[in-house]
């Protein structure tokens, strides 16, 4: 079953002079098993939007159905929330326990697993994200490097075995190799656990490479929704709203302007190299 978002609107501080509409009448469906990317400028409402998926904040109007559970309803929210794992941008907001293993066990214990079960889930999750429980399990989470912290935080969520994994800027502030590692972990997770991934990012390259469908948010509204082919063929629109198109898409556009016929659906390095190889050989 999918996540269905119907006419979602969220207003911060309604009824005061500071009222601000952060999400304006957004409707979309996230299908089971897909890699769903959300892109948008800072302040476009994407972070506010995804917090609704987990019922962390409630909409001003509209509703969110997670596998049929209405997140506006207090009882159903609890059941819906158990299905959706949410990884926040900064791991510093969630790591707190004395050892990494204890910290990863926090979630599983909260959803009612026994200490033994929780330990097993935690160790499995740590292996999935590439943190060896033998080596990292007894370390303090505060000793870890940036990339390791992020993976520990991710492990803390996937130990709860969510069906949907929501990631808010999972690569922000990491160096290129850290980004690649985290992105690879996320892709592996999807094939390994079969969970649906919803990823917010403002790195077009990352989204272009992995997402199957992309939602573009602009000024609180859903601007476009489609496959990467559909979205990145609109390079001009993306640039106009202050988002960057992937570098390769910009290169293709520049080449097209010079009169070289580059197909519309080329926006990642791999696609470009493949196309270029074909053209050169021809």
């Amino acid at each position: 079953m999918p996540i269905v978002v119907e006419n979602l609107t969220h207003t911060y501080m309604p009824g005061t002079p500071n009222a601000h509409v952060a999400v304006d009448n957004v409707s979309l469906t996230i299908n089971e098993g897909e890699f769903f990317g959300i892109i948008g400028h800072t302040g476009s409402g994407k972070s506010t939007f995804i917090q609704h998926l987990n019922g962390l904040i409630q909409p001003t109007s509209g509703r969110v159905l997670v596998d049929g559970f209405d997140m506006n309803d207090k009882k159903q929210r609890r059941q819906g929330r158990a299905l959706v794992g949410m990884v926040f941008q900064y791991p510093d907001y969630q790591l707190f326990d004395s050892t990494v293993l204890d910290d990863v066990m926090f979630g599983p214990k909260n959803i009612g697993q026994s200490p033994e079960e929780a330990k097993a889930s935690a160790e499995a999750a740590m292996r999935t994200v590439g943190l060896d429980p033998e080596k990292f399990g007894e370390k303090s989470p505060f000793e870890l490097s940036g990339g390791e912290k992020r993976r520990a935080a991710l492990a803390g969520i996937i130990a709860m075995k969510p069906k949907y994994l929501v990631l808010d800027e999972p690569m922000a502030g990491l160096d290129p190799s850290g980004r690649r590692e985290v992105l690879k972990t996320i892709s592996d997770l999807r094939t390994e656990l079969g969970c649906t991934v919803i990823m917010v990012s403002h790195s077009m390259e990352d989204v272009a490479r992995s997402a199957e469908r992309i939602a573009v948010m602009n000024e609180s509204k859903l601007f476009a929704l489609g496959t990467p082919d559909e979205i990145f063929s609109r390079t001009d629109d993306l640039i106009a709203m202050g988002l960057d198109a992937p570098q390769t898409a910009r290169l293709a556009k520049a080449l097209r302007e010079k009169g070289i016929a580059v197909p519309d659906n080329i926006y990642t390095n791999e696609q470009f190299i493949e196309w270029f190889g074909r053209v050169r050989n021809a």
């Binding site: 949410m86 907001y93 326990d97």
Partner: protein, 271 residues
């Protein structure tokens, strides 16, 4: 969630009270507190009440703000009134009903203590309502600076207060984010007894503390890299200046104190 709470009481405005120098306001507030304690006779309290009303009108604050300031006392004030009313057993017996006896001294004391507390809170609230926290710390620093002779760290104290005030909204926002991150991991802050709930706060408090220390470290580094070395020889962007308004205000409060003293000496007892 937490973002909706308001911090600090300052209400922006352009009234005569807003325009006073913060140093004047701090000193006059202290003088006002002294004046309130000088009042020993209940009928003289009319002067203090009148003064509070006039100053409130001058500040362009609506009375509702003063009532809001009194709100935290909504339990304490009635309690103190009742305690004084029933526990003081001197003076004439006024009312007797079942086990309750009310004496004249008890009634007088009860009214007195409530009036005293209410005017104290109203008067001091007017200071924080009409002065920005930054102006307050600036004023405090200037007032305390003579104490530097005895090595009192006036500048450091003011800087610490300024930094603390500056980071309150940041910390509130961060606490909100941490709370959400832990809620997403199934943390429960609402059920269970008080010990369980206190324990449930740990996953919020620890990241908050760790991040605060890290932030303090970074802030210290950022200040040092801009050559901050304490208050010595430091000039201000907003220089505090006394004006004729401050002089008038000082005269008015001096007149208040004089009026209280004279009224108490000369007024024939009414009760």
């Amino acid at each position: 969630m937490l973002k909706d709470i308001t911090l600090g009481q300052y209400v922006p405005g352009d009234s005569a009270l807003h325009k006073l120098d913060p140093r004047t306001k701090i000193i006059l507030m202290i003088a006002f507190v002294v004046a309130v304690f000088l009042v020993k006779r209940i009928e003289v309290f009319a002067i203090v009440i009148l003064f509070t009303i006039v100053v409130t009108l001058l500040s362009h604050m609506s009375i509702s703000y003063l009532f809001k300031a009194l709100k935290p006392m909504r339990l304490l004030l009635p309690l103190m009134f009742l305690m004084n009313l029933f526990l003081i057993k001197t003076g004439d017996l006024l009312v007797e009903w079942w086990i309750f006896k009310i004496y004249s001294d008890g009634l007088k004391n009860a009214i007195f203590i409530v009036l005293r507390l209410a005017t104290l809170i109203a008067g001091t609230s007017l200071l924080t309502l009409t002065t920005t926290p930054i102006a307050l710390t600036d004023g405090l620093e200037k007032l305390l600076s003579p104490l530097k002779i005895i090595k009192f760290p006036a500048h450091e104290l003011a800087m610490m207060m300024t930094i603390a005030l500056r980071f309150i909204p940041t910390l509130v926002e961060e606490a909100d984010k941490i709370m959400k991150a832990q809620l997403a991991r199934g943390a429960d802050f609402e059920s269970g007894n008080i010990f369980k709930r206190a324990k449930a706060m740990l996953p919020i408090l620890i990241p908050l503390f760790v991040n605060s220390f890290r932030r303090a470290d970074e802030l210290a580094m950022a200040m040092e890299s801009r050559c901050y070395h304490g208050g010595e020889g430091r000039t201000r962007m907003r220089v505090l200046r006394f004006t004729w308004r401050d002089l008038v205000a000082i005269f008015v409060v001096a007149a208040l104190i004089a009026a209280i003293v004279i009224a108490q000496k000369l007024l024939p007892p009414l009760f």
